[in-house]
């Protein structure tokens, strides 16, 4: 390279060579990198979605705190809340007994244990109306069935097993995803049919689960109408001890996941799924299912992502249950 080309050396009064070089460098060579329009759009969408989620979460946390306070005072009074307290207590006692004596076997009507993060924080949409009564979420659990030798997961930081507290949801909350249409990033599963994701069969046997291709894949459930969602329970494949990777659960108002996208759960610690970094912990897939506190978020579509598992690169879904109440 030659630097012998002679630049214009005329120098305005009071300006040093150094100053002129700065001017020349910034004016001639400075080409600030600008973000792509696509990224600008994505950032705006992600920021708006996060702000909406934050707002809803804050409102629901406030409401939940007040409801728990109300529940405590109700327990003291006993009279007005007698029936509800009895139901909750029976469920708690039932769970404790089951837990102490033996693992539950195809338990029906068992109060769902709480997820690791929010203990029964059944969020409520703010409607300004009377607050509904909270009751334990009842799940019909499949038979526990771990086969084979579990992978060595020593040193893994997995979410602890669920506690035994009941997971509280508003009275009237039900499985709104049963037999609802399912779509997927892999339209032709290697094993099974997509409708099996919402057919109510959670058993860890052949014919109960679907297998999607390797890499990042999702299944999406259309609830057919906007619902206030309180809990999402997923069973990937609980026949052996596995951890599914990059599990992300999002909800949205449209089927293309453009409007009102909110992330309910994300344990992708390194953004390898490209949906943002999540702070949730990885977990062992078990017959109890993965219960995610959706805090009453209002949405019509639910999408569950995963990216392989500790046994292979495939993605499996035995059942996804979405518990909520159709929005008014």
């Amino acid at each position: 390279m030659s630097t012998e080309q002679t630049p214009d050396t005329s120098q305005p009064q009071g300006e040093s060579i150094a100053d002129r070089n700065v001017e020349r460098l910034v004016a001639a060579a400075y080409r600030p990198e600008t973000p792509s329009e696509d990224f600008a759009r994505r950032l705006q969408a992600a920021a708006q979605a996060r702000a909406t989620t934050r707002k809803e979460t804050t409102a629901m946390t406030d409401l939940s705190v007040s409801e728990h306070a109300g529940a405590r005072s109700g327990a003291v009074r006993l009279v007005g809340w007698g029936v509800a307290a009895a139901v909750v207590a029976a469920a708690v006692v039932g769970l404790i007994v089951l837990n102490v004596k033996a693992p539950p076997r195809h338990d029906t009507g068992v109060a769902a244990p709480v997820p690791e993060k929010t203990a029964g924080a059944a969020g409520q949409p703010q409607t300004g109306e009377a607050k509904p009564k909270l009751v334990p979420l009842k799940l019909e659990l499949p038979k526990p069935l771990f086969e084979g030798t579990p992978k060595n997961m020593k040193g893994w930081k997995l979410a602890p097993p669920r506690g035994n507290e009941p997971f509280l949801v508003p009275e009237g909350c039900k499985n709104v995803s049963l037999h609802k249409p399912v779509t997927s990033s892999d339209a032709e599963p290697t094993v099974g049919d997509l409708k099996q994701v919402t057919d109510g069969d959670k058993e860890a046997v052949e014919g109960s689960y679907i297998e999607l291709g390797p890499g990042l894949q999702w299944v999406q459930i259309d609830l057919r109408q906007a619902c206030n969602i309180y809990a999402i329970v997923m069973w990937h494949f609980h026949k052996e001890a596995r951890v599914y990777r990059d599990v992300v659960v999002q909800v949205a108002d449209d089927s293309d996941f453009i409007t009102g996208v909110r992330t309910i759960f994300n344990n992708d610690a390194d953004n390898s799924a490209g949906l943002g970094v999540g702070a949730d912990m990885e977990y062992l897939d078990e017959y109890t299912g993965k219960l995610i506190d959706a805090k009453g978020v209002k949405a019509r579509y639910v999408r569950c992502y995963s990216k392989g598992n500790t046994s292979n690169d495939q993605n499996h879904y035995t059942e996804v249950e979405i518990h909520g109440i159709p929005a008014r």
């Binding site: 630097t3 700065v22 970094v277």
Partner: protein, 205 residues
């Protein structure tokens, strides 16, 4: 439109006001992007990740932002959050982000020309070199935002010192003083980075 990132803006943002959130994201696109880009080795995908995570964390932690203490300037708080994200990204990408990679094609003669920035006018050819563009961009990204803005205002947009003073609502003397400090910071940073590259090039040879 919010006049600044003041208490009113923060209240609106905390309430999820789309306009307030959009302004935060716009600011991140305007300023954080360049702040992050060269700090993650000029890798766009890493930069996008750092910027997006910074904005999302900022929304999550908005209650911690004190507009009064920050005098309505959210950028220092935002860049503080961005540094954490950059640190996280670099820790993960350990060994893949380096100036050495960025400056693989730089030659000794060019580095020598950079080293004489205080003594000799740079030739047009040096100014046209891709490496120079990278170095200037990297230098600008390291400057405090008000210095970068002053240099852009004067040398990219071509405004006079008087216009700059009017824009900033300060005296001409204050605007000139800011510009002078910005040039000084630019030179010091430009030299520091080029010397760093020179050291790396020598070490690798």
């Amino acid at each position: 439109m919010f006049a600044s990132f003041d208490a009113h803006w923060r209240d609106q943002a905390l309430a999820g006001d789309p306009q307030a959130i959009q302004e935060l994201a716009d600011l991140a696109l305007r300023t954080l992007y360049s702040f992050c880009l060269y700090r993650v080795g000029n890798k766009r995908e890493l930069c996008e990740e750092a910027v997006q995570e910074t904005v999302l964390h900022a929304i999550d932690r908005l209650a911690e932002y004190d507009p009064q203490r920050a005098d309505g300037d959210v950028l220092p708080w935002l860049t503080g959050l961005a540094r954490n994200e950059i640190h996280r990204v670099l820790a993960r990408e350990k060994g893949t982000v380096s100036l050495e990679e960025l400056w693989a094609s730089v030659d000794g003669e060019l580095l020598a020309a950079y080293g004489r920035v205080n003594a000799e006018l740079l030739s047009d050819e040096v100014l046209r070199r891709e490496e120079t563009r990278e170095l200037v961009n990297a230098t600008m990204s390291q400057l405090p935002p008000h210095y970068r803005a002053a240099l852009e205002c004067k040398y990219v947009e071509g405004r006079s010192v008087r216009e700059m003073a009017e824009l900033q609502s300060v005296s001409e003397k204050a605007a000139e003083s800011l510009l002078s400090r910005a040039r000084e910071a630019f030179r010091a940073t430009f030299l520091a980075i080029s010397r760093n590259i020179e050291t790396q090039v020598r070490t690798s040879c």
